[in-house]
Amino acid sequence: MAIPISVADDQDLETVSPVTNASTDPTAENGRVTIAAESLDAYFGATRVVRDISFGVHSGQVTAIIGPSGCGKSTLLRCLNRMHETVPTARVEGEVRLEGKDIYGPSVSATGVRRHIGMVFQRPTPFPTMSIRDNVAAGLKTLPRADRPSRDDTNDLIERALKRTALWDEVKDRLNASAIALSGGQQQRLCIARALATSPKVLLLDEPTASLDPLSTQRVEELVYELRAEVTIIIVTHNMQQAARISDRTVFMLAGEMIEYLPTNAMFTAPKDPRTEAYITGRFG
């Protein structure tokens, strides 16, 4: 698959509407590539858990990564926002380009990268000592002073983020209450709102509904589907049906390698590789 040339360095991204070039088929490859991996290897110590993976994720799409347990999909995800290296003895080789710039470049700070990429984890992790409002605004505190929004703007952002994640009506009367008083599903949506508040370019979801009940899962899936217009989303999931429901393109991984990367429809109806087919038809899990 061809990785389209990324936006020129000096082009102001605000003037490029994310879905201008996209055809009505969200799986078309003529959208902008927001984030791409090139020859990515990830290690824990001497063990290579992600093997030479290259792919590009287009804007305005939801890309799912599926594969059996231990295939390295979470590790791959964590390489995309430089979270993998936070583990001692972990190492990454290769490149990951966020809108053309290699995030592993020599003078690039990991903290800066992570401000542009949001992540939501398997278990909801609201900050227990902060209120709901402070949780959502938590990401804004790390912005450089010049970019930090004013108090009113912050309130606006909080409200927008909570509305976007369908939490606003449920919590608007108790924004100062503790975040851990919320239910699991609400907490997870709070975490998504927290990630969205800083307007990231990419949103990484690592099995976000794994610990949620079916109703909350459904809500989160709907949310993910709606958000794809404004954020590029990559979701790791062990639930194939979920991938089929909400993603536009799917990556299948096995033992650290990327076996196939196809539009979701194609992946689940006519995969090319026999291993993909074996996994999808449930012959191994």
Binding site: D9, D12, L13, E14, L98, E99, G100, K101, I103, G105, S107, V108, S109, T111, G112, V113, R115, H116, L140, L143, P144, D147, P149, D153, L157, R160, A161, K163, R164, A166, W168, D169, L196, A197, T198, S199, E222, L223, E226, A229, E230
Partner: protein, 328 residues
């Protein structure tokens, strides 16, 4: 479903490439590392400083008397002769008494708490035993001085000497006014009991169920199970707890100095007053007349310093050993 779909959030930040020049956070991280490392290094530095200060303070006496500092019984402040043997003797004896009394009780309580006690009694009883450790030493001393000593003088000692006719035994000989080695041993026993009990309880709980069940399945009674399966497994930890108690007893000052009589004397009688290293330092400090006297006191402090470190290290090593045996 969503309550009115809100407009997509416009970028609040200036869109910028993820390349940020050396940013404050890198400096912040380094500063944080340095500061926490610095604070952590204060601990070894402090320990070293304590060792240095204590030995510097005691050096004049230690160097002047050498080994005789530890072996001589002559303590004459006026003539400048200092031998700490009675204090060392007293420390060992009072600690030994404390351990002899406290160990069976502490281990018994611990076994009771971990094996036999009904659920409703566990929490309160454990709380009470641990409370013993929370009482300040001077309060023990006060009680010992004003309650225990009179009790010993008026009831216990006459009972042993006269009623039991044991007064002629070396162990109970001499005029008994109250302040005595046995008083110190008793108070120390009470103070040391919660520590031995807490450690023993911990190591007993760490014995895996499989050990207990194996013994019971073979037909052992509950007591036999404890004696043969649980205690041997936890043995080194229990010994570690006892030695930990010893460490505390060696260094205990206030309660001892208020009940032991503070006399430079080596006596075979439990009913006679004596001295311990810690109580000697505390007692004579305010009256120390000359520099050599002071230095002699500090020298004893240095000896105490070394002894307690050795004892505590052995204790911790033993307790740690039990933890290692846990994994099958």
């Amino acid at each position: 479903m969503t309550d009115g779909v809100a407009a997509p959030i416009p970028p609040a930040t200036r869109a910028e490439a993820p390349e940020i020049r050396i940013e404050a956070s890198a400096i912040g991280d380094r500063l944080y590392r340095w500061i926490t490392t610095g604070f952590a290094l204060i601990i070894p530095a402090l320990l070293l400083l304590i060792a240095v200060e204590v030995f510097v303070a005691g050096w004049p006496a230690l160097s002047k008397f050498g080994v005789s500092f530890l072996t001589s019984s002559e303590w004459d402040a006026v003539n400048g002769k200092f031998g700490a043997a009675p204090a060392i003797f007293g420390t060992l004896v009072s600690s030994a008494i404390a351990l002899i009394i406290a160990t069976p009780l502490a281990v018994g309580v611990a076994i009771f708490l971990s094996e036999f006690a009904p659920r409703w009694i566990r929490q309160p009883l454990a709380f009470l035993v641990d409370l013993l450790a929370a009482i300040p030493s001077v309060v023990y001393g006060l009680w010992g001085l004003l309650v225990l000593l009179p009790m010993l003088r008026q009831h216990f000692m006459p009972f042993v000497k006269d009623t039991l006719h044991l007064g002629n035994f070396a162990l109970f000989s001499g005029p008994a006014y109250g302040p005595s080695m046995i008083a110190a041993g008793l108070i120390l026993a009470i103070m040391v009991l919660p520590y031995i009990s807490a450690v023993t309880r911990e190591v007993l709980l760490a014995v895996p169920r499989s050990q207990r069940e194996a013994a019971l399945a073979l037909g052992a009674t509950r007591w036999e199970m404890i004696r043969d399966a649980v205690v041997p497994y936890a043995k080194s930890g229990i010994i570690g707890g006892i030695i930990l108690g010893l460490g505390r007893a060696l260094g205990e000052t206030m309660a001892v100095t208020m009940v032991i009589g503070n006399r430079h004397e080596i006596s075979s009688s439990l009913f006679q007053p004596g001295y311990t290293m810690a109580s000697l330092i505390a007692n004579e400090f305010s009256e120390a007349t000359n520099d050599l006297h002071l230095s002699a006191l500090m020298g004893i402090g240095a000896v105490l310093f070394v002894v307690t470190i050795i004892v505590n290290t052995i204790a911790r090593w033993l307790v740690w050993q039990t933890g290692r045996n846990k994994a099958p």
